[in-house]
């Protein structure tokens, strides 16, 4: 979750005061029965008044979901009780202005500082509460240029042709089991369209929040960046503390047209009983550039490998991934780079921190096709492991199918050096503070790539996570 405009002195990361953030679901307009059947999907689709082709996509995906196997690799997902999840929750009926948002919802977001944040640093904001977007805005300047920033549901209603053209085109519904599930029951998410040549100078932001217990959030985002256009999209995630687990399973598709640039930043701070299974992929055309900045701090299990298909000559993909795994957490993250065209390059930097028995894994793929000559790929994974109970893994797969390439992969694992601690402590800094400084230094390169407001918050979140970690 992100919260840039909050007074730094009073800043409290959400998971600390999370009980204050939980609200009753009594006033909800619509909650589906637990479990998933074809009926549930028809119900969701009819509540949204969707065109028939979308219902067909959903139903096909549902059949694929039933047939696909749970991945045999990666994190342990046995804790998800799919039969007791609620797949669709609607908090209010209207598509309101900020004033019409139900008071409980508003209070939550007010506490998260969203309206203030919007005033200062953002070009547009969306807030998604459980299954649906409850609030949205876009600054007039960008609207005038033809920028579209809507919830996915509104996007489908107002721009069905665009949605039909791009929906499911880079992540097929049978890509994996959770992408199929998302396609079947998707609700909410963002629809972003940046017209040719338009450079959106301020970030667009969406906040995702799971409020109801035992629920699934299945947002679906589609970002289309036309020729030469440029955009930075930021998402923040948060959820209160529940005794039972919830599921967040998103699909994000990005289309980067020739010469366009898209940066997609995620700051994921779900509460530590959320399963976060996300499929994100970009299709990058000639000389386009896709940058994923992916920060994973929260959740019980995260499995997320943002990737790009470098389909046009000279396309560039960049991933900056940071994961922090604390007690009971498994961050299984990484990136996938598929080079299909010549002169493409990919650059993946991953930094992970494991502490208090947490496990962080880098899992990645670099594939260079026979036609993709003169490609460059560099993957660097650094892991910091803070105590003997923790674990770190690196699982890179590199498949190279021609010889005019430069492919490099490097990984290192280390702990906080005694010499580093000694140096700082001999200068009068206590051990906890010294450790925090070293950890912040470890991820500094990545944090620098964030807009300033987020960078400050990232450092705070890290400090908070590191609290009391001196053993």
């Amino acid at each position: 979750m992100t919260n840039p405009a909050v007074d730094p002195q009073n800043f409290r990361p959400s998971n600390q005061s999370s009980t204050e953030f939980s609200y009753s679901t009594a006033g909800y307009k619509h909650i589906t029965k637990p479990g998933l059947t074809e009926g549930t999907i028809r119900e969701i689709s009819s509540l949204k008044n969707e065109p028939k082709w979308m219902l067909d996509i959903r139903l096909t995906a549902f059949r694929q979901y039933q047939l696909l196997n749970t991945p045999s690799w990666g994190a342990d997902l046995s804790g998800i009780d799919f039969d007791n999840l609620r797949y669709f929750l609607r908090a209010s009926d209207e598509k309101p202005s900020w004033d019409d948002v139900p008071p409980e919802v508003k209070e939550t977001f007010d506490r998260l500082g969203i309206p203030e944040a919007e005033r200062d640093v953002l070009a547009g904001v969306k807030a998604q509460y459980d299954s649906e977007v409850v609030y949205g805005s876009l600054k007039e300047v960008w609207e005038k240029d033809g920028v579209i920033f809507l919830s996915m549901d509104e996007g489908l209603e107002k721009h069905p042709d665009l949605v039909k053209e791009y929906f499911g085109k880079v992540i097929a519904s049978n890509d994996n089991k959770y992408a199929a599930l998302n396609t079947a029951v998707w609700s909410g998410g963002s629809f972003v369209y940046i017209p040719k040549g338009v450079e959106v100078k301020m970030p667009l932001q969406t906040y995702f929040r799971i409020n109801a217990e035992l629920s699934g959030q299945f947002e679906r985002s589609l970002i289309i960046v036309e020729e030469g256009a440029k955009v930075h999209y930021v998402e923040g995630c948060t959820a209160p503390n529940f005794s039972s687990t919830s599921l967040h399973s998103a699909v994000v598709e990005v289309f980067v047209k020739p010469g366009a640039t898209c940066q997609y930043t995620t700051i994921q701070n779900w509460y530590k009983n959320i399963y976060n299974l996300v499929t994100k992929r970009a299709y990058v055309e000639t000389e386009g550039k896709m940058i994923w900045t992916d920060f994973n701090m929260g959740s019980k299990v995260t499995m997320k490998y943002p990737g790009y298909i470098l389909a046009g000559k000279g396309a560039v993909g960049e991933t900056l991934s940071m994961a922090l795994a604390g007690e009971g957490q498994h961050q299984d993250t990484g990136s996938k780079a598929v080079h299909l065209a010549p002169y493409t390059s990919s650059n993946i930097v991953s930094k992970s921190i494991s502490k208090s028995g947490g496990r962080s894994s880098y899992r990645g793929l670099v594939k260079i096709a026979p036609e993709a000559h003169h490609c460059k790929s560099s993957v660097i994974c650094d892991a910091l492991i803070l105590d003997p109970e923790s674990r770190t893994d690196t699982y890179p797969t590199n498949i190279i199918e021609n010889n005019q390439v430069e492919m490099q992969h490097e990984a290192t694992v280390s702990k906080v050096g005694d010499d580093q601690l000694f140096y700082l402590m001999s200068r009068g800094i206590n051990e906890e503070k010294a450790k925090k400084m070293i950890v912040n230094g470890f991820i500094a390169d990545l944090v620098k790539k964030l807009p300033m407001e987020y960078a400050i918050e990232m450092n705070r979140l890290i400090d908070h996570e590191m609290e009391g970690s001196v053993g």
């Binding site: 000559h373 003997p388 199918e401 490097e410 694992v413």
Partner: protein
Amino acid sequence: MKKSSLIPQTIIIDKDTNHIIKKPGHYIFEIIKPNIKVDIFSALQAKGDEEKELNVVIHHKAPKTTAQTTLKAVGFDQSTLIMKAKILIDPGCQETESFLTERVLLLSKDAHAIAIPDLEILTDDVKCSHAASVTQIPEEQIFYMTSRGISKKTAENMIVEGFLKMEE
């Protein structure tokens, strides 16, 4: 990806060892005593439509062990090289140092390489790294040698020979 059909061969290491892997295959090195130093080296070549697979596991089962693993391979023609290597450090194996290098040279545009260097670290206080690279012979090296009157073919052979040599 298809599962490896190789039959694993376990090599127990209980004293300082220099091990040269001479054939492709699946090798599991288990380092079972503390304060041991191991050097593992392999140089492979694949020609024609050969597919060669090397799968190496370096399993540190005792603290204070050191391993240095260097795997090199050259792929000619339409060959495929599969290089898998894993460093595994058990809980409680503090002060382990383990380094792995996989270097692949592809000499033909139809040659393929799959490099999978894994790490599984279950303890802290380790120094551990791996690096993998897949490249062709840098053009400046060929240029340097051909400009000195060596034919391209000979130059390539010399560079390959030098590349596959064990580092002292």
